[in-house]
Point group: C2
DNA sequence: TATATACCCGACTATTTTAGTCAAGTTTAA
DNA sequence: TTAAACTTGACTAAAATAGTCGGGTATATA
């Protein structure tokens, strides 16, 4: 059970962005250097974050990215959703008639996994980007 | 973020075992048939569960497996540990001096991921095998 | 209006992990 | 004696992951 580095990078990058999002847009190049994440990989991530209205891009010289909302309004779950992180502990389809393993209508531990899923999702929904900004000392 | 089917199967199989663990040992063949898990795969899992003192095996004809403790004393976290499920949300080493990405001593979101890890582990530590037995109707 | 800076996008690939099989045993109750 | 059941290591196909590569497009500034 692990989180993909896609998600880890997305949260790291946005935390960095939120920290430096004072007035001028922040360039991916800067985030890349500060956080040690490949620039090309960041581009992929920010494309998705933009499509999901988490950031706005400003093109041209002096361009870069800014947050689309206040850091206090960005849920971590929004970020994970944007980069396609799936919180799926089970193969069972939630409201499927054919059931979890194609045999019984529900596998014997179905409810347990669903509970786990909710437990994790709750955590991500409660946490806001703002909560992360001042949590750790910066480099 | 997903749980391996190794873990899912281990929990399913043990829940099944706990349900049928009345007097006689339960054979893997029966668990395999009831739960739709490959017999050979179950053998692999129960080897690990046995090494970790979660089950005991009884050899020979009429043999099979029984729980080594009461179902109320088996934590789900014990099971996951036994089959090598890693709850690692981050690459960061917990008490390493070199730090998470080989650069800074701690990555910017380190504390957040650690909190998530604890959140998930707590869930698994609180849940006992017994809690699962009567949760879902059986097939 | 030239151009450097920065974003945009699809295709591709090496590596790792996962899920599961295969084959060949050993043990023991009946 | 033998069938049922556990034991073990090696192997493999498929999927997911973490990125790279190459070639764009948009626009602020000089």
């Amino acid at each position: 059970m692990k989180l993909s580095s896609k998600s880890r990078y997305a949260v790291m990058a946005l935390t960095d962005l939120a920290k430096f999002n004072t007035k001028d847009p922040v360039t991916l190049r800067d985030i890349s250097l500060r956080q040690g994440i490949s620039l090309v990989y960041l581009e992929q991530l920010f494309l998705k974050l933009k499509k999901n209205n988490i950031v706005k891009s400003i093109r041209g010289k002096k361009g870069g990215y800014i947050l689309n909302k206040k850091a206090s309004e960005v849920k971590i779950s929004d970020i994970l959703l944007a980069v396609d992180e799936k919180i799926k502990t089970i193969g069972c389809k939630k409201n499927s008639k054919e059931g979890c393993n194609g045999r019984s209508s529900k596998c014997i531990t179905h409810d347990f996994w669903e509970e786990l899923e909710d437990h994790i999702c709750d955590f991500f929904k409660k946490k806001k980007l703002e909560d992360l900004i001042n949590q750790t000392r910066f480099n």
